[in-house]
């Protein structure tokens, strides 16, 4: 009895870890499944799209290349403009605000942070009609500028939170030492503080870029000319048609999806903290 008991107790944990790992892999595959199907549909030969087979009979990688000469390439350019533009806007606006609130206690500091937190809870979808009416009056409907402004404004909160957290974690003494060493106020900021806060800056940038890249509802409301629509809206209008060009649709989807999944993987850990606005401690 005594000498045989260690064997099952060692085998049991091993079985348990196999079950754990196995079910985790299965769940991981379930979450990847739609994107695998997306890729398989994009490379399926066009004339076999209506055949009910699990795997394509041949792989036509050319559809991913043809995308660039098709009409959707222009929509991708719009998406890039919107994503890059709003990222730049957020950077220019959020950096000074986050830095100042982390270093100084001014009269409306609490009020400002409250405003930012509220912004994070609001989503543009809930006020689409207001956004539409406002930009209609500005004469900015159907322009890339409206999309840059809206995406920048609604992603500002996340950037302010995460940058504020990073700046706050940098000891003041470091900055004071650099200041005494003869770096001016801005020299200190650019040579000491910003490099130390770089992980936060990168996270804020990638997050804003992806959010603007993926945005759909506002763009659907604000852009009417096909050539002015970002990729999400253009792809969506594909399915409105009777003859859906699924292959072209999915080639576009692959190009719209794969880069952001990879980008997102780089910042995933920090995003949770930024989204929950430091309320999980």
């Amino acid at each position: 009895m005594a000498h045989s008991s260690p064997a099952p107790s060692r085998a049991l944990p091993r079985l348990k870890s196999v079950v754990i790992a196995g079910s985790a892999y299965v769940i991981a595959l379930i979450f990847l499944f739609p994107y695998v199907i997306m890729l398989l549909t994009a490379v399926r030969p066009q004339d076999t799209l209506r055949e009910a087979t699990y795997l394509p009979s041949a792989f036509e990688w050319s559809s991913l290349v043809e995308f660039w000469s098709g009409g959707l390439a222009g929509n991708l350019v719009v998406t890039l403009q919107v994503a890059a533009g709003s990222t730049l806007l957020v950077l220019l606006v959020a950096l000074p605000a986050a830095y100042y609130t982390s270093r100084h206690n001014f009269r409306f500091r609490t009020g400002f942070l409250f405003l930012v937190l509220i912004t994070q809870m609001f989503q543009p979808t809930a006020m689409l009609v207001g956004i539409y009416r406002e930009f209609f009056q500005f004469g900015l409907v159907d322009t890339v500028w409206a999309l840059i402004l809206v995406n920048g404004g609604f992603n500002l909160a996340f950037a302010v939170w995460i940058l504020n957290a990073y700046f706050s974690s940098i000891p003041r003494e470091l900055e004071e030492a650099a200041f005494i060493d003869g770096n001016g106020r801005f020299g200190t900021l650019f040579r000491i503080t910003l490099p130390l806060a770089m992980p936060g800056v990168v996270t804020a940038l990638i997050f804003t870029f992806i959010a603007a890249w993926n945005e759909f509802a506002v763009a659907l409301m604000l852009t009417t000319t096909p050539a002015n629509q970002p990729l999400t809206v253009a792809l969506n209008s594909y399915i409105g048609q009777y003859q859906v060009d699924w292959q072209g649709l999915f080639a576009g989807s692959v190009i719209a999806t794969i880069p952001v999944i990879i980008l997102f993987a780089l910042i995933e850990r920090k995003v949770v903290n930024g989204l929950t606005a430091g309320s999980i401690k």
Binding site: A24, L32, A97, L115, T119, N214, M221, A265, V272
Partner: protein
Amino acid sequence: MRHRSRGLRALEPLAWVGPAIVLIALVVLWPVVEMIRSSFLKISKFGVVQGGNGTANYDRLFAEPDFASIMGRTLIWVVAVVGLTVIISLALAQLFNQRFPGRKIARWALIAPWAASVLMTAIIFRWMLDPEVGVINMIRRDLGFLDALGGASADPLGQSATAMPWLIFVAVFVSVPFTTYALIAGLSTIPGDIYEAARMDGASKMRIYWAITFPLLRPALTVAALINVMNVFNNFPIIWAMTRGQPGYSTSTSTIFMYILKNRDIGESAAMSVVNFGMVIILTVVFLKVTRWRSEVA
């Protein structure tokens, strides 16, 4: 710096924080004002204001024959999606918190629906539910749940009874990754020695979970759930890409209905927006209360 007058010093914060305030005012606050104003105006199809309209936009909205069912459906939509998301994420957070080889890659796979555009995911699901060649229908047929492809029973999005469950499924699918990650982050803050002590006392695994893990996870769970409530309530792409709110209005939530109304009558659409926005305000107040934000910022 020392030579500056008091007046200039008071303006200093504005130079740093001002641009952010301007952007928020322009993009977030102005539309709120504009939306409320529009809900009391008579506006033509081409956007021309034709004068005040009193509460006529609201009267028309509340008199819509489908209004009550749309609001009821919105409630079911939010409760079902967030409820299922929370239950599944609690289980997945436990699972993905275990040590096993390849955990990093498995966790990485979980990111995909979170990172990808919700619209893209919805479009893919619509394709996978295609009556003739949808891979989900093929799997259903091969498992014996479906007699043949191509028929009405192979078109779950075409009928209201089956469309709504599928929409809820897709919404849960895209909500689970963030929620799981938030819960994993919450789990990592629970100190290990608490478990040590409980195990020494001979507590069972289930008891340890409900007596220690779950209560300590509650703050993370509440915040994640509230963020989900906000996202799901405001969600537009899933329903729009998969059913356009049809058949009839049978898969429309208040957000979808607001968009449908926009093409018919901007004033009434604005009234619907204001009603939606009122609910967002309530949710925000709850969020602020729960997170006790002031203690975090101070």
